[in-house]
């Protein structure tokens, strides 16, 4: 046993030294020592939706390149988990793929945290089918026929008024029922959040499985965020949606000008008033909004319109006081 003692103490010491010495070396990813003159420093904690994280992370990276003294960390506990930490004062900014709910707003109120809902990107919820499927466009009512809570439709030919319907069984794929995507889709199509049939393939967290499923199944149909369609355009077909004014395809332009309804949505970050008192957080949020469109496109989302940018900037200015 004695022989173990020496190496064990050594290992413990080594870990201890490394732990204490750890904060001395800040090595940034890109190692960009260039952009000089920035005197901002501090740590910014972001947490929340894993859908918005692909936006917050590049924003953080770019910001850190210009401000090497600032450390930004991004977590993905989910929109709900993010708000819980946010309203407990443990994070500075909350990523959200949906609007804050009443219970969460009440929690923030009772801990005295004020916030603003800042849009950082647009997203088009895309309905996808197998590329062999001849259907090009569906109306909202037809989609609701398929996905509605009482729906018993089991094959494509059962859908009322659908031209060129293939002679195939419906094979449905949907995202996890705890996700903002699910909430938004059900609200937009079926009129109530959470109202949807239950006999479909629930892919949970992994929208990539919707891709696998729909592309491998003749009667497949699924829905997810725009970035998943963009990445898989070769193996999937996006349906045009008729929200009352004709068939509209899910593209960046159509989402930004609002014609892709009702499935166009926004993605948000929620900064707190306390956090915005710190110069580095304020600078980061302003940076984020300014560069939001570039970041969004790089991540597969849809950028903000000029009006949205202005509105966001005004909100931030108002909250920062």
């Amino acid at each position: 046993m004695r022989k173990l003692l020496v190496p064990a103490v050594f290992v413990a010491l080594a870990i201890g030294v490394a732990a204490c010495g750890g904060d001395d070396n800040d090595s940034n990813a890109a190692g960009n020592a260039g952009s000089g003159g920035s005197s901002l420093s501090g740590t910014i904690r972001i947490d929340g939706s894993s859908t918005v994280a692909p936006l917050s992370e590049p924003a953080a990276e770019l910001f850190m390149q210009e401000n090497p003294g600032v450390t930004v960390t991004v977590g993905t506990s989910g929109t709900g988990g993010g708000f819980e930490k946010f309203c407990a004062g443990e994070t500075d900014i909350s990523d959200a793929s949906r609007e804050i709910k009443e219970e969460e707003a009440a929690a923030c109120k009772s801990s005295g945290i004020a916030y603003e809902e800042v849009s950082v990107a647009n997203d088009a919820l895309t309905v996808v089918v197998n590329p062999q499927n001849p259907v090009e466009c569906m109306t909202v009512e037809q989609v609701a026929q398929v996905w509605g809570p009482k729906s018993k439709v089991s094959s494509w030919s059962d859908i009322d008024g659908l031209e060129d319907a293939p002679d195939a069984e419906l094979d449905l794929y949907g995202p996890g029922t705890d996700s903002g995507t699910f909430d938004y889709f059900t609200d937009a199509i079926n009129g109530e959040e959470g109202a949807q049939r239950t006999d479909y393939n629930n892919v949970g967290e992994d929208d990539n499985s919707t891709v696998t499923g729909v592309s491998g199944s003749e009667g497949g149909m699924g829905y997810f965020g725009y970035s998943f369609f963009v990445e898989n355009q070769d193996s999937l077909k996006a349906l045009e949606i008729d929200g009352g004014d004709g068939c509209v395809a899910p593209t960046a332009e159509n989402t930004q000008d609002g014609s892709y309804t009702p499935l166009g949505r926004q993605l948000f970050v929620y900064p707190s008033d306390q956090a915005l008192q710190r110069p580095e957080v304020l600078a980061f949020i302003e940076f984020y909004i300014e560069n939001a469109s570039a970041i969004a496109e790089q991540a597969g989302f849809i950028g903000l319109t000029d009006e949205q940018v202005t509105e966001a900037q005004e909100k931030v200015a108002g909250l920062a006081g």
Binding site: V11, I15, A19, S50, A53, M64, T73, G75, S77
Partner: protein, 315 residues
């Protein structure tokens, strides 16, 4: 009867001998042809089982290797994470985070786990209900899903009484609680397996109970204890869900430290990348699996070398 005498050649003796022979042959019979065939089949079955397990592992490694091969480079270990340029991103901060968290886990589970096992095997009187309760507890905790430990860690370690905050130490403590039952159970088996003649001999020579344990029982039990530690570390290193709840972030570019600042671990990063649509992230995730295996092998080799040494000494 003197040695070398033969048994009297009576019918009774003959019957007795035949009966004894038959009895022995029935239970522990000598090898005959059918027996050997069965033995070979059994051996084949054994080898098949081992091959199945090894093939499964091999397929997994090969699959990860093939998927992640395009990204394999030294950069994977030295560069920090990057969403902007995933082609050059690496796992450095995640590797360090994993090492810190797991280091903390080991520091916690070895003394506490072995201590609890010693208490349960050597000191606890099973007639007392509270000792039986502790036993049941330990066994039950082994089956609690990891995410429940995440909830526990968030409520009691990050916030609540311990109030560590979202730091690596909190992650260590949460994971330590998760794998502690594994260490305790394996250590108990190891300690139980030490023959009581060893203990009784030491006690008879005047050693106190603790001296007996420290100098005789524990050293003999070390290989089993190490197995438990190895299995526990293997489990802890692969956990993502509880750490997500307890504050591991998926993006941090600064090297972590134990008691302050954000940290990330390899499984958390890999899971994050795997659920992204872009192909380049999928490949990065697979490459991350390879990185994880390298780290795990490094950690395990030390423990296994240690276990082999102690096995040789005491078997």
């Amino acid at each position: 009867m003197a040695a070398g005498d033969r048994a009297p050649d009576t019918a009774r003796a003959r019957l007795a001998v035949a009966g004894a022979r038959a009895g022995t042959a029935a239970t522990l019979g000598r090898t005959d042809r059918g027996e050997r065939a069965r033995g070979l089949i059994f051996l084949a079955l054994l080898v098949l089982a081992v091959t199945f397990a090894l093939t499964g592992l091999g397929a997994l490694l090969v699959w990860a290797g093939i998927e992640g091969a395009p990204r394999l480079s030294l950069e994977l270990f030295t560069a920090g994470p990057s969403s902007l340029s995933p082609e050059t991103a690496g796992y450095r901060t995640a590797i360090l985070g994993t090492l810190y968290v797991i280091g903390g886990v080991i520091l916690l589970i070895v003394p506490i786990g072995v201590g609890a096992a010693i208490y349960l095997e050597e000191y606890a009187d099973r007639r007392h209900w509270w000792n039986r309760f502790v036993e049941l507890n330990v066994q039950n905790l082994a089956g609690v899903p990891s995410i429940v430990y995440g909830i526990l860690g968030l409520a009691f370690i990050v916030r609540g009484p311990a109030s560590f905050g979202f730091v690596a130490a909190a992650g260590s403590a949460t994971l330590a609680l998760l794998v502690l039952p594994t260490v305790i159970l394996a250590s108990r088996e190891a300690i139980r397996a030490v023959p009581s003649s060893v203990r009784e001999g030491a006690l008879a020579l005047g050693a106190t109970q603790w001296q007996t344990i420290r100098r005789q029982v524990l050293p003999a039990a070390i290989p089993g204890v190490l197995t438990g530690v190895i299995l526990a570390v293997a489990r802890a290193i692969g956990e993502a869900a509880p750490l997500l709840l307890v504050g591991a972030v998926t993006f941090v570019t600064v090297d972590p430290s134990f008691f302050e600042g954000g940290y990330s671990t390899l499984p958390v990063q890999i899971f994050n990348y795997a659920t992204r649509p872009q192909e380049v992230f999928q490949v990065l995730a697979a490459a991350g699996v390879i990185v994880m295996l390298v780290v795990l092998l490094a950690m395990n080799s030390f423990a296994i070398w240690l276990r082999n040494r102690y096995e040789r000494q005491f078997s």
